[in-house]
Structures are given as C-alpha cells and as structure tokens.
C-alpha cells in the first residue's frame, strides 16, 4: 500500500465514453495483483472531494493501466487528462482474486459487464501464466460498450460477446450467454465476475447451480479505499456470521457464496 503523488500518464487511449490510462508508478505496479484497485485523486480542489476507485486493468514493469467509463464528474475530469500529466494515486489496494494453489488446466470463465471488464484482462493473463484455460464473456448494452474486444482478442482471449440491444453478438444478458453455453457443452471449473450487482448475483446463482465456486468483484462508493472510513461495506457471511464488511479491505473480491444480497438478509 503506497501513495504515489505523481504517477505520470505515459499513454492514453479513448473510445467514446471509455478511456484507458497508462501510469508510470513503479512501487505500486510492482506489487499489484489481479482484482486489486487504486484510488485516484481526480482534482486538487475540493470538488470532487474524494478519490475514485479503479481496478488495475494490466501491469507491465513499472507501469499500470486503468480502464474506465466516464459516468460522472470525477471520471469526466480524469477523461480530460493528457499524456505527461501526473496523477496522485494510492495502491495497490484490497484483496484480489484467489490465485493460490495449482490452477493448471482449470477451466476459468471470466464474466465482465461494461466497465466491469476492467480487472479481467489482468486476471486472464495471470490465469494463463498459471496454466488455466481462460474464456472471456463480455457483455454490454450495445456494441459501443464492447470497446476492449480487440484488445482481448489480440492477447489471445477472443471474447464471447453479448449486447442487450442485440447490436453485437448474443442478444441478451451476458449471464444468459454463459448459462446457454454451460447448458450446451461448456463446463467451467470456476467463475470470475465483475460488473453491476444484478449481474454478479446472477453469476453467483449460476455457480451455485453448477456447484462450482465463483469470485465476484464488488463495487461501492468508497470514502478512503484503505479501511479507515467503514463506508464501503457489503453484507458478507464469514464463519457462519453475517456482518457489514469493508469491500476495500476484505474485498473487493469475495466468494459468491459469502455475499449476501439485499432481500436475502431482510
């Protein structure tokens, strides 16, 4: 966990509302693991006041990449930054995906919705290095959301795509695409997912039905990102006990079976 007050932007790419920034930040890049995130200060003034969390999309040497969608004031300011500028960041933060044990031959299904695809690139690469067989399921509202298709493809992870409006790939939810495939011939050993809550919940149910584990990367508004504010909690089961646990510290990745969704707990 480090603070780098001047992580310089060495590369920037944009597709519509989606943007990718490469940051040179040796200490943080070296420590990063898939599923972890960084907190970025988007303004030095008091608005936006708080840092914003972004998953680590990829790491190479002293550089780290974030991939984000412009959805509000902080991400808009970030989308206006340019090569050569420096960002004030904290990281790497949180506990990422579980890469312990022997993963050789593991059938890994990675499910990403919209900007939720961000951490799965890093994860896919690490899983492959460890001998796992990786498939990417990539969903969005429409074709314009699937901007990382080619990046995944040229890294050797040609994704199975879906769009809700049918403009590209499977017409429907990405989770329905995964379900369809598992009904046909695909038998994953483990699911990994990042995206909106509804999607995560569906992935958890699918994993439960298939009796396989699923790891979900949760989102929440974060006050600090390093466990100090207790603002980012989600209800999590642990040792049989349900409690509000900090996503930034114990997560953002949790086992689906431990995640209690609203409604379940009331």
């Amino acid at each position: 966990m480090h603070k780098d007050p001047s992580a310089s932007i060495t590369h920037k790419e944009s597709w519509g509302t989606y943007h990718m920034l490469t940051l040179n930040t040796p200490e943080i890049a070296t420590l990063a693991a898939p599923g972890q995130f960084i907190m970025v200060r988007t303004s030095l003034l008091h608005q936006p006041l708080l840092r914003r969390p972004f998953s680590i999309h990829a790491v190479s040497g002293t550089e780290l990449i974030i991939f984000f969608q412009s959805v509000g004031v902080g991400t808009r300011l970030l989308s206006l930054t340019n090569r050569g500028q420096a960002l004030d960041i904290l990281g790497p933060l949180g506990r990422g995906f579980d890469l312990s044990g022997d993963l050789k031959g593991l059938q890994a299904a990675l499910v990403g919705g919209g900007r939720g695809i961000a951490p799965l690139f890093f994860l896919a690469n690490e899983l492959r290095k460890m001998g796992a067989d990786v498939r990417i399921f990539y969903g969005g509202n429409s074709e314009e959301d699937l901007v990382l298709r080619e990046r995944f493809a040229s890294a050797g992870f040609a994704p199975d795509c879906s769009t809700e409006d049918g403009s590209y790939g499977y017409h429907g939810l990405v989770t329905d695409l995964v379900i369809k495939d598992t009904r046909e011939a695909y038998a994953p050993d483990r699911l990994y997912a990042c995206g909106p809550d509804g999607m995560l919940q569906a992935v958890g149910e699918l994993a439960h039905g298939l009796s396989i584990p699923a790891e979900l990367s949760l989102e929440s508004i974060m006050g600090c990102g390093f466990g100090a504010c207790w603002g980012c909690v989600h209800k999590i089961r642990k040792d049989g006990e349900e409690a509000w646990r900090k996503i930034c510290e114990e997560g953002p990745v949790f086992l689906a079976e431990d995640v209690v969704w609203r409604g379940e707990d009331r």
Partner: protein, 303 residues
Amino acid sequence: MTDLSVDLGFCVLKNPVIAASGTFGYGLEFQPFLDLNLLGGFVVKGLYYDPRPGNPPPRLFETAGGLINAIGLQGIGVERFAEEVLPKLQGLEAAVIINVCGDHEEEYAMVVDHLNGLEGITAYELNISCPNVKQGGRCPAMDPDATFRIVKEVKKISRRPLITKLTPNAVDITGVAVSAQEAGSDALSLVNTFLALAVDAESRRPALANVLGGLSGPAIKPLALRMVYQVAARVSIPVIGMGGITSGTDAAEFLIAGASAVQVGTANFVDPQATLNIISELEDYGRRHNIEKITELIGTLKI
C-alpha cells in the same frame, strides 16, 4: 523554526494536529502511509461497550465540498479493542485519545470504567454528539442539561482527562459548551458533523440508507470556524477545533479563532498523509510570520 508544541493543561502535544475520530480508523490503518509518532495525537473511532453492526449501505454520499456519512458507529466494542488494538498503540509519542460512545449514560461510564485500568491512553473524548444512531439525529449534546449530567457522571469515575465533543446541531452550542465546562470537562472539541439529507431525484429515495447523515469536509469550514470562535470566547478550558481542515492555513485559522489545537477528519480520506502536510504547512506559516511558538496564534483574531 516555530515551536509547534501546545499544552492543553492536562497534556502537552508535540504539535496541535490531531486526527479526528471516525476518520482515522484505529490509527493502524494509517501506518502504511505515515509514522504515527509525528502527529500531535489521534482519536480512535467511536467505541461503544459492545460491538455494533453499523448502518446498512449506502453509508456515504459526496456533496459540493462535503461528505455525508451515516456509518452508524460500526465497531468492535471495548473488549476486542482492549485485546486486539490497544496493545499495538503502546509507546507512541502521539497522544492516543479514545472516542467514547454510549446509548445511555451508563454505557459511557462502562466504557470508561473498562478502559481506566489499561495503559497507553492519553485522554477520553466523550462523543455525545453523533447524529446517526438515534432517530432523527438527536443526541445528548443537543441539550445543556443532558450534557451536564453525562459529563459529570463520567468525570466522576474517569481516571483520565475528559474532552467533550460538541455537536453543531445543538440548540445552542455555546450553552452546551458552558455546561460541559461546569460539569468538569477538561477540554472541548468541536464540531461533529452537521445533520444533513441527500435525495436521489431519480429513485426519489434518500441517498443514504439511514435517511439522515452527518456532513463534514470543506463545505462546513465557515460554520465550524464560527462556532469555535463563539465557544472559545465563552469558556476557559481549551477548545479543539475542527471542521473541514485540509491545509496548514485552515489549521492556523482555527487557532486564530480561538482553538488551542485542531482535529483533521475527512481530509484523511482524501489524503492519508493530510495530517503530515498540515503540520509542515503550519511550520512554513510560522516561519513566514516569524512566530516563535505556535501558541502565540491562539485567539488572536483582530476584530
């Protein structure tokens, strides 16, 4: 080089910068970012006798220059604190202050009683002013009489100096301040967060699950500064000022308005090294203005 130390009467701080309760975890969370010994002190997260589950999320909402929170004082309770946290806070040069909470007078006394026998605590800060827990944000510090009773009760059994933390939502904060002083409080700290509401116009729901929350951060600084100024003019015990402090200049403003030390809250989230920056900016300020001792600033507002 300006001498930054301040004497609160019951303890000397190496500098007037204290991390505020609820924004600095149990201190340990900040060790990756700073050496706790460099701080004047820090106040740990509000502690009830028993563990508390806290409020359901969403617990945070950002506003223009501010943050609304309704954490609901989630915490591990005094026993686990004594076993798991306090041993790690021994031997620090910084003052370690415990933010004491309670649902009723007895609970405050129970917390203090439990902590009285333990080492490594500089003072208690009585948090009679958290607006989140009770319905509609009411709390003892909204009323001078309730404040007097609680402070008196706790002071009786406390083996340590007592700081009473005041709420800006009080009927009359100076009245409450005077009550706390009369009941024997050794110092006052103010302000806690301002009762606030955020509405999500899309869903027509409150932005926080708890409906109401407490506003902190730069947005409240002008209001906090006014209250510190008014309270410091009315009491003789030291006042610890806070509310939206993010820079050394902000800290100097609170000292000038009458505070003997300051606390830094929300700024710790924005920058885990905020307290250190504030300390070094205060040093710069002292140097630029040829101030020998930072205490020379206290209460010097020229009207």
